[in-house]
């Protein structure tokens, strides 16, 4: 990674508690490069109007910017622009998927497969769909090594399985799930496959055709883009069959007082004025990452993850959660310190300007399975450096000395 990449992120120039900021919580949200901040500001300054409806020049320009972002996102994941639905984020994308599939594909006695390693955002929408439709929610087990139990998955797949949903990269374990293989197995029983790609698309090359899922969700704010913008990618044929989740302006063909007809996807799923400037910012984030190259983003993330893993595994007071092989992981590592609560670790590191996560990372069932109430997590993006991993590991020794 070019050493000047970090300089392009203004917030990383600031200090915290008098120390240079070492930001190791990109799995929660990533920082923004000047290119993204400026793209959003420039859009407001120069090209802003509502999209799709206006007949004046400025509205046409704003629509071009918005649709340009859609094209950029599509090119990042090997999709067609008309398959990209803009949402508020991964959570809304998965709620849309769970609701629309519930309406059309899931009925009483049917089954929805989830996994024990899901973020709450890919668990709760399916709990609600199962409850609403009288279906059963079946969790696929996680092995002690932090991988999906493929035998358990095969046992639970059946003709009753209407939906199989799973996380691509776990936000706690870091595990990269073999979505293509699992999707193929699920498709054999006729299930629709949904992938939560919130921790993968921002960090590695993802081609939705190779991934093999039917619906894929991710967020802009974890991939150097703004908050309030996310994506649901869907197979065109499937999107055409799904009903809208949010109804109102900009998503209809014709409206009568007692009924309406829906526009085609993606407009059908983008009721109301969308997050236009945020989409433009996301487009700039995609351009920024593609200029670096997603292969290089992945290589850098793996390099830092390998260093952090090495350092953590060599410390006897640390327990690492998830796979030991950095190649089998996203750009994050979760861990525990013997007898010390993660919030104490995070608070003491914060005094050194080092921002790490302590908590259950919105995955309570997984932590229950691991037998812990919470864990610590470090996660990386393009702006993190080898030196920062070293600073973190040295500071961790001091935490252990103070509290251990």
């Amino acid at each position: 990674m070019d050493e000047h990449v970090r300089d392009g992120f203004p917030i990383l120039q600031r200090t915290v508690h008098g120390k240079p900021l070492v930001y190791l919580d990109s799995a929660a949200t990533s920082m923004k490069p000047t290119a993204v901040i400026e793209a959003e500001a420039r859009f407001y300054r120069e090209s802003y109007a509502n999209v799709r409806r206006g007949v004046y020049e400025l509205a046409a320009e704003a629509t071009d910017c918005y649709e340009g972002a859609r094209t950029a996102v599509a090119s990042l994941i090997g999709a067609r622009p008309e398959e990209i639905v803009f949402t508020r984020g991964t959570t809304e994308a998965l709620n849309l998927a769970a609701w629309a599939l519930g309406e059309t594909r899931v009925g009483p006695g049917d089954e929805i497969l989830v996994t024990e390693m899901e973020h709450h955002a890919n668990l709760l929408p399916w709990q609600e769909t199962a409850r609403r439709r009288g279906a059963r929610l079946c969790p696929v087990a996680v092995t002690p090594a932090g991988e999906l139990d493929r035998d358990d998955l095969r046992r639970k797949l059946s003709p009753q399985t209407k939906v199989m949903t799973l996380v691509h990269v776990s936000n706690v374990l870091g595990t990269v799930n073999p979505v293509p293989e699992i999707a193929a197995e699920a498709h054999q029983v006729g299930a629709i496959v949904v992938a939560d790609a919130a921790q993968s698309v921002p960090h590695m090359p993802v081609d939705v055709r190779e991934l093999g899922a039917d619906l894929v969700a991710f967020s802009g704010h974890k991939m150097l883009g703004p908050t309030g913008i996310g994506v649901l990618w869907g197979q065109r044929e499937l999107l055409l069959q799904l009903p809208p989740f949010v109804v109102g302006g900009e998503m209809v063909r014709e409206v009568w007082l007692d009924r309406a007809t829906w526009d085609d996807p993606p407009a059908r799923f983008e009721g109301g004025t969308p997050p236009i400037a945020q989409a433009v910012g996301l487009g700039a984030a995609v351009d920024y990452m593609q200029a670096i190259g997603m292969e290089e983003v992945r290589r850098h993330g793996q390099e830092l993850t390998a260093l952090a893993l090495d350092g953590l595994l060599s410390r006897p007071y640390v327990t690492v959660h998830g796979p030991r092989d950095p190649a089998a992981r996203g750009a994050l590592v979760s861990f525990s310190l013997a007898g010390i609560h993660p919030h104490d670790v995070a608070t003491l590191l914060d005094q050194e300007g080092i921002a790490i996560r302590g908590g259950h990372h919105c995955a309570q069932p997984l932590h229950r399975k691991l037998g812990i109430s919470a864990s610590c997590r470090v996660s990386f993006h393009v702006y993190n450096t080898i030196d920062e991993v070293g600073l973190f590991l040295e500071a961790l020794d001091i935490v252990w000395k103070a509290l251990g």
Binding site: D350, E352, H360, S373, L403
Partner: protein, 122 residues
């Protein structure tokens, strides 16, 4: 890089830790965000806190705060204990960073709940 000495001391050597055989009042408070749980048990006689015990699981700040709180209110009239303000406990702890106030105040919430539940008992 560490906590105030008083927090470390109460965390390492907790006071009044355990259970009462016949508590007159008790309450549990939890912070589901981090899994902190604190249980406070009271032995009340003549409207005064004669005995107090705590049990808990969680971070150093919540456990140290529980330990310190038991010393703070033991022997106090119930009405006085119920009036212990957040700031009083926080300053007794030597100050707590703002991101951890909920941890520090969890035991006080449990105490107030226990006192409210046991208010009719003597």
């Amino acid at each position: 890089m560490s906590y105030e000495e008083i927090i470390l001391d109460h965390w390492r050597r907790p006071r009044n830790k355990g259970r009462l055989p016949h508590p007159d009042a008790a309450a549990v408070e939890a912070n589901p965000l981090c899994g902190d749980v604190v249980r406070i048990e009271l032995g009340i006689k003549d409207q005064t806190i004669q005995d107090i015990r705590f049990e808990g699981e969680g971070c150093a700040i919540s456990l140290a705060s529980a330990s310190l709180l038991t010393e703070l209110v033991q022997g106090k009239p119930v009405l006085e204990a119920a009036r212990v303000a957040d700031e009083e406990l926080l300053s007794a702890l030597g100050g707590v960073v703002r991101t951890r106030l909920t941890c520090a105040l969890l035991p006080l919430r449990a105490l107030r709940k226990a006192l409210a539940s046991g208010s009719s008992e003597t």
